[in-house]
Subunit: 622 residues, 2 copies
C-alpha cells in the first residue's frame, strides 16, 4: 500500500501561536518601517494611558521621552499618572498578545483589541533583543512594582526576567520603557510630534509632555480641567445581530424564559417590545430560550427587522463635539472659514457610531494641492493608510463640482481645504490590527458622506458669497477711482467745494452708507451727526461703534457705552429697512479743530466690508 | 486603606481567544459585506486546493458550486482532486485559526497564515449558525472521511459534531461545504467569476469549473499540462535578520560552533563566507553560539551588512513568466500593444521576492478612464483595497507625463491601459489577514516602480512611433490627393497616358516602393516584374508575398512557394539597403487581360503600413 502524499504533508501541519504570527507579520501591527514603528509604539502607550485615566476619572498627565541609544536604535519611555496596573496583571497586560479589559466591553475606548502595547514589546525584543521595563503603582498605600518582561513567542506567554518592589515618586501611574529599532523624524505629518499635537487637539483635558532625542521639551498644555463625559457600557443592540451569534447567546443564557432573555440580553428591548418580538416571530414568550431551534432563532432575527426597536443608547459614545472641532481647526491653521457638523448616531452590526466633521477653508492653506484630511477614530489620530480608509472613500465619492471645488481626475478635490473627520464607535471596524484605516462599511461611508456634504454645502454658500463680494469690491474700486476725479473736476469748473462722494458710491453699489459729520460751534463745542442709509436690497441689522476719548452729551438715541482704557466705545444697535435712513447725533464739549480732524473712523459691526461705504466694517464680535 | 481603582479595572482583564478576536473583527479577514464574504470564502478554498495540488505534483481540477439556500444565504461547495488531508488533521486544519503547514516554510505559496479557510468556517457559523461539512480522502486504498465541524470560539479549538467513514467516487481529494450569509453578483470585477478567470490566467495548469446559483456551468479549461516548477524551501537569508531574531536562533541552535551555525542556519553562507563573517565581527569561528552576548550578536548583524553575501536562491519562488503574462493580457482584452518585464529577485527582511509587470495599451480599452490595474500576489488575484496597495502607490508615484500619459490631479494616469502586476515572495507582506493589499515596504515599492517604468518606456517608444506614423499617413493622404490630380491634368494637356505616381509618393515619403507590372505578351503569356526600391533612411528587411492561383515560370530570384488551397503564396525575402533597388520577375502562361486586371494586390510583411507605397503592408507573421 502506497503511503499517501497527505501523510508527508501532515507532518508539517502545526499550531501557530498568535505571537509567532505577528512576529512574522509585524507590518500588520504597524511596525513596517523605522519611523512608523516609533509612532505606533508611542500611540499604543498613549492610547492605554488615556483610556486608563478616563476610566479612573483622572485628568491625564503624560510624559513621552525618546532617547537615541544607537545609530538605528531608540529607547522610548512613556509615563502616566493613571490608576496603575495591579501586580498580578502586569506580565499579561504587557507581554501577552490578545489580553485586555476593553475587548468585550461595548463602549467607546481607544484600545479595543488587546494587542497594541504587547505588540510594541514583541517588536522591541525582535529588533533589539531587549526586555521591556515596566514600573506601576496603584495608590499611595501600595508599593510600586518593577518588572522586566519578554514574550515567549512559541507560547504567547510572558517571560518574567525580573519582578521586584521599587521606589517611585508617583502616588499612582505606570511607566513603560522599550528599546527598539526605530527612527525619530520631525517636521512631517507622520511624526510623533504631529501625532501628539493631533491627540492634544481632540483630548483637551490631557497634558502631554514630549522630550525629544535632542532634549527639547514640548508641552501640549491641557485646555480644560473638565473630563469628557465617561462612556457607559451597553448591551448589544438587536439590529445587526447575526443568526450564529444569537444561537450562541440562546445557548449560554441563564434566563429560563424567552421574553426576559430578550429584555436583559439586548439594549432597547423593554417589556412591551419583548412581547411584540415574540408575537412577530410566532414564539411563546414563556419558551425556554435554550430550546429554540435554528429555524425559530431565524424567525426571531426576522422579527428584529420587522418590529420597530429604538436606536441604541449613545452614552456609550464620547464624541469630540462641534465646539472642540472648531477650536481644534482654528488652532491648527489660520483660515477664513470653518463649518462643523455632528451627525445623529447610527448603527452598524449592532454597534452605535457617530460621525463628526469639520471643514476649514482659505487662509494659509495651500491653494493648488488636494485638500487635506485629518482622520480620527475614538479620539485617536489616524496617520497612515489614508487611501484605504472609508472616510477618504466617502470624500472621493462626492461630486465636488457641485460644491464649487475642482476635482481633476476624480479623487480628492483641490483647494485650500482641511477636513477633520471623527468616527466614534463602541467597535471601530479597522482594516487591520494597526488601526490605521476604517473598513469600507456601507453605512459608515454613507454617514461620512452626508456629514461632509453638510459642511460642503456651507462652504459653497460661503464661496458664492465671496465671489459676489469680490465682484462688488472690484466695481466699487473702479467707481472710487473715477468718481473723485469727476467730482474734483466739476468742483474746479464750478469753483465749489469738492463734494462727499460716499452717498453716490453707496447708492450705485446698493450699500449701507454711514456718514459722520462733525461741526465745530463757536462756543468750542461740536455737533456730531451720523447719517445711516440702507441703499441695499435687504434689511440689515448691525452696530455702529464710535470710539474716541471724549464724553458725549445729548445723544439721540442714547448709545450703549463701554469704557476701553483711554477710549469710550459708544455703540448704537440699528436695524435699517430697505431704503430707510437713520440719524444719530450727539454733542462734544470743548474740542479743537485739530482734535476733530484726527477723529478715528467709525466702525460698523455685523456687515461685510464690501457692503458698507463711509466706515470701516468688521464682521462678527470683537 | 482605600481600594485602588486598578483592582476594579483588573477584574475585567482577560485573555481573548484568536477566534473571538476575529469573530468581532471579521472585516479584517475579508468578511465585511455579503458579496465579498462569498469571494473571500471561494478564494481561501481555491488557494488551499491549488497549494495542495502543487505540493503533491497533481494537475489541479477544481469544482466550485454555489447554491442559493435562502434570500440572504448561500451554500458554497469547493471540491478538488488534491492529495487530501489525513483524518487526524481534518478538524484542526478546518476549524482552528492559526493552524497550518505553510506558515513556517520559506517558500512561495498562496496560503501562508494558517487563518484563511477556518475564517470562512467561523463566518459561516456566525451568520448561519451552521456547521461546515468536510469530505477528504488521501488515496484509493484509504477510505474517505466525513466531518461536521464548528469552531469553539472561546478556546479556538474544533467542535466535532460528526466523524464517519463515507463513500466517495474520487480516489483522492477534498470537498468543503459551507452555508453562510452571502450574495452572488455577476458582471463586475469584484465577483467570483472574475476572480476565477483571473486565477485561471496565472494558473494555466489548473482546470476550474464554476457552477453558478442558476445552474450555469463555466469551465476555465487548462491551457497547459505542465506543472509550474515547484517552489523549494530555503533557509533564511542573513540580509534583514533582526537582532532579536538572531539571538533567538543562537539560543535554540543545536550547533556547538559559530561557523557551522552560520553555514547551516542561513542560505548563501558557505565555508568561506562564514569565516569572513566571523572575522568581520571579531569573533572566533569556534565559539559556542549559545555563549554569544547581545553585544557580540550585534557585531554579527553588522558583519552581515559589511561582508558581501550572495542574493538568496530564487528556486523558492515561482513567477508567472513573461510569456504567460503576455498570453494572459492578450486573452483579457484586444489591445494594440503589450510589453512585459520580470525584475531580478530582490530581498526584504530576508525574504526574496520578484516583481513581474505587463502593460497592455489601446484596442478596446476605455480611453478616458484611469488605467486599470490587475494585481496578483503569489499567483492569487487581489480584488480589494487597491488604494492601500504598494503596487498602486508605486504606479501613482511615477510622473506619467514623461511617458506621454496624462495624470490629471496626480494618482493613476488616464488612457486605454491595463497594468498587470505580480509580486511573488516567500512571505508577501499583506496589510491585513484578508490579504487584499501589499504593505508599503520601500524596497518592494521601488522594484514595482522600476518594473512599471520599464514597460512605460516601451509604451512611450510605441506611442511616439505611432504619432510619427500618424503624421506620415496624414502627409501621404494629402500627397495622394494632390498628385493624381496634377498627373491627370498634365497628362491631359500633353495628351499622354496618366503616369504611375507611386514612385514619386514613395520618394517624397521616404518609403519602400513596391511596384508590380504585368505585361501581356502576344503569345498569351505575361511578363511580371516587381520593382522594389528603398527611399527610406534605414535598411529594411521584409518579405514580399504574391498570392494568386497561377503557376509561375522562370522566376528570378526563385521564391519560396506555399500552397494555400486554391492559391499559391510566392514569397521573396529581401533586404534593401538605403537607396537600393531590387527587381523580381517571373512569367505566367496563358492568362487573359481580364485575369490580369483582377490580379490581387501584393503584400509586404514586416513593415508598418505607413512605410510602404504600392502594396498592402502587414506587420508580423500571418
Amino acid at each position: 500500500m502506497e503511503i499517501p502524499i497527505a501523510e508527508e504533508l501532515a507532518k508539517k501541519q502545526k499550531s501557530i501561536s498568535v505571537a509567532e504570527f505577528f512576529e512574522k507579520n509585524r507590518h500588520i501591527l504597524g511596525f513596517d518601517s523605522a519611523p512608523r514603528s516609533l509612532i505606533t509604539t508611542v500611540k499604543e502607550a498613549v492610547d492605554n494611558a488615556l483610556d486608563a485615566c478616563e476610566e479612573a476619572g483622572i485628568l491625564p498627565d503624560l510624559m513621552i521621552q525618546i532617547e537615541r541609544t544607537g545609530p538605528d536604535y531608540l529607547t522610548i519611555i512613556v509615563e502616566d499618572n493613571g490608576p496603575g496596573v495591579v501586580k498580578e496583571q502586569i506580565p499579561k497586560v504587557f507581554a501577552k498578545l490578545l489580553y485586555g479589559s476593553r475587548f468585550h466591553a461595548l463602549k467607546q475606548s481607544r484600545g479595543q483589541q488587546g494587542i497594541g502595547i504587547s505588540a510594541a514589546v514583541l517588536y522591541a525584543q525582535m529588533t533589539s533583543g531587549r526586555y521591556t521595563k515596566i514600573l506601576s503603582r496603584t495608590g499611595p498605600d501600595h508599593p510600586a512594582h518593577y518588572y522586566e518582561l519578554m514574550i515567549n513567542t512559541g507560547s504567547n506567554e510572558p517571560d518574567i526576567l525580573k519582578d521586584e518592589i521599587a521606589d517611585w515618586f508617583r502616588p499612582h501611574g505606570t511607566q513603560i520603557e522599550l528599546e527598539m529599532k526605530a527612527s525619530y523624524v520631525k517636521g512631517r505629518r507622520q511624526s510623533v510630534y504631529e501625532y501628539l499635537k493631533a491627540t492634544a487637539i481632540v483630548n483637551p483635558h490631557a497634558r502631554i509632555t514630549l522630550i525629544e532625542p535632542d532634549g527639547t521639551e514640548e508641552i501640549f498644555e491641557r485646555a480644560t480641567d473638565k473630563m469628557p463625559d465617561p462612556a457607559e457600557e451597553i448591551l448589544p443592540h438587536p439590529e445587526g445581530i447575526e443568526l450564529g451569534t444569537l444561537l450562541k447567546m440562546l445557548h449560554y443564557t441563564e434566563r429560563q424564559r424567552l421574553a426576559p432573555f430578550l429584555r436583559y440580553s439586548f439594549s432597547k428591548i423593554g417589556l412591551y417590545t419583548a412581547d411584540e418580538l415574540c408575537k412577530a416571530a410566532g414564539l411563546d414568550p414563556e419558551t425556554d430560550p435554550h430550546a429554540l431551534s435554528r429555524h425559530e432563532a431565524r424567525k426571531l432575527i426576522e422579527a428584529f427587522h420587522k418590529v420597530k426597536i429604538m436606536s441604541p443608547p449613545t452614552d456609550c459614545l464620547s464624541p469630540i463635539g462641534e465646539e472642540l472641532i472648531l477650536r481644534g481647526l482654528e488652532k491648527e491653521v489660520s483660515v477664513d472659514f470653518i463649518a462643523t457638523t455632528t451627525r445623529k448616531p447610527a448603527v452598524y452590526s449592532g454597534s452605535p457610531f457617530i460621525v463628526e466633521v469639520g471643514l476649514a477653508y482659505g487662509g494659509k492653506l495651500a491653494r493648488d494641492d488636494k485638500i487635506s484630511i485629518m482622520r480620527f477614530a475614538n479620539r485617536v489620530p489616524l496617520l497612515y493608510q489614508q487611501g484605504a480608509c472609508v472616510t477618504t472613500h466617502a470624500v472621493e465619492n462626492i461630486k465636488w463640482k457641485q460644491y464649487d471645488l475642482n476635482q481633476p481626475g476624480g479623487g480628492l478635490p483641490t483647494g485650500p481645504g482641511l477636513l477633520l473627520i471623527h468616527v466614534a464607535s463602541t467597535n471601530v471596524p479597522f482594516t487591520s490590527e494597526s488601526k490605521d484605516a476604517i473598513a469600507d462599511i456601507p453605512i459608515i461611508r454613507d454617514e461620512v458622506e452626508l456629514a461632509v456634504k453638510e459642511v460642503a454645502r456651507k462652504l459653497k454658500h460661503y464661496l458664492s458669497k465671496q465671489k459676489n463680494l469680490k465682484k462688488r469690491k472690484e466695481k466699487e474700486v473702479i467707481i472710487n477711482k473715477v468718481l473723485p476725479k469727476m467730482a474734483a473736476k466739476v468742483a474746479g469748473i464750478l469753483d465749489r467745494e469738492v463734494p462727499d462722494i460716499n452717498p453716490v458710491v453707496a447708492k450705485i453699489m446698493g450699500n449701507v452708507l454711514v456718514n459722520r459729520t462733525l461741526k465745530l460751534q463757536e462756543d468750542g463745542s461740536a455737533e456730531v451727526t451720523v447719517k445711516v442709509k440702507n441703499f441695499g436690497t435687504s434689511a440689515q441689522t448691525f452696530k455702529v461703534h464710535d470710539m474716541h476719548p471724549y464724553r458725549i452729551l445729548e445723544a439721540k438715541p442714547e448709545p450703549k457705552v463701554v469704557s476701553l482704557g483711554n477710549d469710550y466705545d459708544y455703540i448704537w444697535e440699528l436695524t435699517a429697512a430697505v431704503g430707510s435712513s437713520k440719524v444719530l447725533s450727539y454733542r462734544l464739549e470743548a474740542v479743537s479743530a485739530e482734535e476733530i480732524a484726527k477723529f478715528p473712523e467709525l466702525i460698523v459691526e455685523g456687515l461685510e466690508e464690501e457692503m458698507v461705504t463711509g466706515a470701516k466694517a468688521i464682521k462678527g464680535v470683537f
